[in-house]
Each structure stands twice: as structure tokens, then as C-alpha cells.
């Protein structure tokens, strides 16, 4: 895992991405108990070229040069199945920019804040996303004011109310 994170860190160091952050189930591990997952979601913010075009090709080329291999829509990087996900809306971009530094062993990495994980899961809205929200609410130290602010700014308060109403 540390080797995987070192390779991801290199993406930032070499300016192939503006920044990256772990999201999804793996990010939730930093705040709550483990649930089984197959892949690590690495969100990336890609710098746009002078033409305004955004391409992931340089990122993939670099990773393959570091020994990454393709497996379905994923890359296997140093023994970990990684899904690279470009920031796809204002919420994921904010979550990337405001991610916090954590360490695994001796290797630093960037992890989305629990409040953003909840907001993204609510927006995605699958059953497993709702389960993640419930887990984080029960086990993580959530900043309620920050969560409300995020949900409000990203038009997710209605989904939040529906989620809360669905809980026992």
C-alpha cells in the first residue's frame, strides 16, 4: 500500500495532476470501521492544457511506466487495484482541494474529509453509498456545521432530509 501511495504522490510531485485524494470506501477507513472493497478510488484534478483540453493519457503513461497494469477499468499499482477518477463536478473538486494529509506507515497521502465523503455518497445515492453515510455518521467525528454548509452549497439538503427520514 505504501508503494502505491508513493506512486500516486509522484503524480503530484511531477505536476501530472494538480492534486489527488483518496475517496470512496478506502477514504472512509480513515474514519470508520473496515468494510470489504476491491478498489481504491483515487480522485485526481488534472491541469488543463493551454488549449483547454483535459486528457488522462499522460497520467496513464506515467503509471504504466511505473509498472502499473490494466485490469478491467482499473489499474493495478504496486499490488493495489486503483480506480482513477477525475474530479467530475464542483463537489468532487472541492473535496479534492480540501482533502487532508494522513499517513499510512511512513508515507503521506491525501484523504477526503469525512464531511465530503458523506456529501459525495449522498449525491451518488446507491444503497452502498447510503450505508457508508450511516457508518460515517455513527463512527466518525463529523463537524455538523461543516457538513450542513457543504450540503447546502451543493444542493444536497433535500437528499439529506430524505436520507435522515429513511433511517430508523
Amino acid at each position: 500500500m505504501e508503494q502505491t501511495l508513493r506512486v500516486l504522490n509522484e503524480l503530484s510531485d511531477r505536476k501530472l495532476v494538480e492534486t489527488y485524494a483518496i475517496g470512496g470506501a478506502m477514504a472512509a477507513f480513515f474514519y470508520s470501521e473496515v468494510v470489504v472493497t476491491e478498489d481504491l478510488d483515487a480522485f485526481i484534478l488534472i491541469p488543463s492544457s493551454s488549449s483547454g483540453l483535459v486528457t488522462m493519457a499522460p497520467v496513464y503513461d506515467f503509471l504504466k511506466g511505473r509498472g502499473a497494469t490494466e485490469r478491467r477499468e482499473h489499474l493495478v499499482i504496486a499490488g493495489t487495484l486503483v480506480q482513477l477518477i477525475p474530479a467530475y463536478d464542483s463537489l468532487t473538486e472541492e473535496a479534492l482541494r480540501q482533502a487532508i494529509e494522513k499517513t499510512v506507515g511512513k508515507t503521506p497521502t491525501r484523504v477526503m474529509r469525512a464531511e465530503h465523503l458523506i456529501a459525495i455518497a449522498l449525491k451518488t445515492g446507491r444503497a452502498k453509498d447510503h450505508a457508508r453515510v450511516a457508518l460515517l455518521l455513527e463512527e466518525a467525528d463529523i463537524d455538523a456545521a461543516s457538513l450542513t454548509d457543504i450540503l447546502s452549497r451543493h444542493d444536497l439538503l433535500d437528499r439529506w432530509k430524505r436520507f435522515k427520514a429513511s433511517q430508523p
Binding site: M1, T4, S32, E33, V36, E38, A78, G79, A140
Partner: protein
Amino acid sequence: MKTPVQEIAEEIFRRKQVARHAAARLSIEEKLRILVEMQKRANEVRRSAGRPEMFVWHLT
């Protein structure tokens, strides 16, 4: 008034909640070791059910 069985069930659920909170506070390194074990066990079930296996991480 709770029945004895209800009290036993409540105590079981209370203990489960305590255990989950303790699991949430393990180090990330320990959680990753647990994840790999969970992936392996999930594959045992998947194999027996004839489903494709999930990728098991190699922690390096």
C-alpha cells in the same frame, strides 16, 4: 417492561456497537490488514457461489 429476551438482545446490540466503535479506532495499517483478510474470505464465498473473485490487495 422488557422481557428477559429483549434485555439480552439489547445487551448484544450494545456490545456490537462498542466493538464497531473500537474497530473504527484501529490504525489504518491494521484496517488494511483486516481488509485483505476480508477480501480473501469474500473470495471463498464467491468461489463457492460460482461468482468471479475480487482482487486481493498485496500490501507492500
